[in-house]
Assembly symmetry: C5
Homo-oligomer: 153 residues x 5
């Protein structure tokens, strides 16, 4: 039984954690999912690390929606830096799944992007944990999450 | 008895720490609050870490008001990075409660924002410590602190 | 007997370390001051940490004057980040006392600012070490160092 | 038998890891190569560290293609910072081999650059592991990877 | 016998490491110098840390020439951040000696600057290791390396 951590925020405008969990459960049965919701993306690093060290998760998804203002961009940078540091302190992958609020102009498209990116990173997680050789075959293939693959040169 | 750390600054132009403490005490009785005031936001990371490691606080609020100049924005970034690092070193949440001096044009509105954000993050702290399942229900709901919730897409 | 570290640079254009030491000695008798001068502000983090860990200082002032060019701003950011990291590694406060070379246009005013900021942060140090309750009373009061206090909203 | 780690991404649009491995195998026989492919460049730091600590690699190449948008530049910065941190935590070199998607305008030239830079950094790896004295002779010689050497002043 | 580490790059367009070594040997006899040349400035942090921890150097000079493009500026920032982190992890000074390729317009002047800065930082190293009290006398004197001292206010 693999333990997977899902860490998301109340700040985001779509339930990305819920979508990721649904995608995982639809594709893999042998999972135990532990979810933790925090206020904002800057709370994700320590929450993810606690899922690893206190709940024994062997991989975590950290999902969030940085806002569109300049100061939100800085927050996203701080959160990302913290997520990488948390990974290095634990030798454990934390998949960062961020959708910037200004990636799409229309609300409906933003919502779709948030759901798709969460689901496709959940697929990445499945490959990393259960089928790492598939990722190796996709090396350099211009894969994208939430939008169409751009493909190799 | 839960020990809560409150860390704030003399640089800020409103007593955010006082507002947070008032909010906590009005809503929860079983608390011991330890407060530490430092000169500026760059002093918050180590002060917060000491509240955790030397005073046994199980969660900390770090409250401050970054100034409006470009160099103040850099200070805020450094302080935030340090607060995240402090959390990762201690496996303990530190809720960052910053109001940028230029978030509002009028002084009265800035003051109101500082008070409201401090109080609403105090409410977040209460949920995190006492009612974590409530936060999970609010995942992806577009919650904001100090301003109106933007809501889900 | 409290041990205080003073760390400054040869790059700065005013003897900020000297001013800080003078202010400390004029106000407190029960002090041992250990001074270390390094070439530039990027040398301050490790020098400050060595004052803490190898010389047993219980608090350090790190004084410097970042230059006015864009690359100097980056240096200041790196030095500040390092000073915060050093504090977190030692659970010890290091008061950063920086005056940017472009904070004042006239040389004489820059010199005055450097001296005043060094002295007023020395006063902060005295409060932090000897009278921490005074700082708590000043929380949110809009205090500034080297320039006039802006005051509370 | 030297163990070399190769860490690359599915996001990149050319199989840089494959090119590096081909270059290494064409030039050195006494190698064991362990490859790990991850989704994006922000996953490289922990993957590289795991190759060092869990697979006993004595040096790693981390290959990736940061995108052309502003937020991709920030990702690259976060990944690079993480790769340096991983090196410092392990006292082991990780050669960062990044080609920014906007370094060339034409797709064919971008592809050529990605292959050449991967191969020439593989040559650097060979020098670092097997012939360190050659690098010393090249000190200050204006060497470049993937493009023509600029040469000394 | 003092062990000094010299760490430089093949990317730089002048042999800064060679100049630093010449300056050190011309002024001090009781030295053992250990040199390590790496491809670029991002390789300097771990190489410097290895000189300290694996070769017992008690101080290191890290010399390099960041390029003139925007992405080179980011590299310089990452390298500097790593060098400060390496110092904090080892409680050992690493003198960063960087000349940005765009500090001078003419190649001959750039070359002169690179040599002078390397030599003058070597003089700083000598003071730090052998004559620390001289640096204290120079505190706040507006010293520069590679260009004329600007002097005190």
């Amino acid at each position: 039984m693999k333990k997977i951590g899902i860490c998301d925020t109340t700040f985001a405008r779509f339930d990305m954690g819920g979508a990721a969990i649904d995608e995982l459960k639809s594709n893999v049965t042998d999972l135990k999912i532990i979810r933790k919701t925090v206020p904002g993306i800057k709370d994700l690093p320590v929450a993810s690390k606690k899922l690893i060290e206190e709940e024994d998760c062997e991989i975590v998804m950290a999902l969030g929606m940085p806002g569109a203002m300049e100061k939100d961009k800085v927050c996203a940078h701080e959160a990302s830096t913290g997520l990488i540091r948390a990974q290095l302190m634990t030798n454990t992958h934390i998949l960062e799944v961020f959708v910037h609020e200004d990636e799409e102009e229309k609300e409906e498209e933003l919502k779709t992007l948030m759901e798709n990116r969460a689901r496709q990173h959940a697929q990445n997680l499945i490959k990393m944990v259960f089928k790492p050789k598939i990722l190796e075959k996709e090396a350099g293939m211009g894969k994208r999450q939430g939008k169409e693959d751009i493909g190799p040169l």
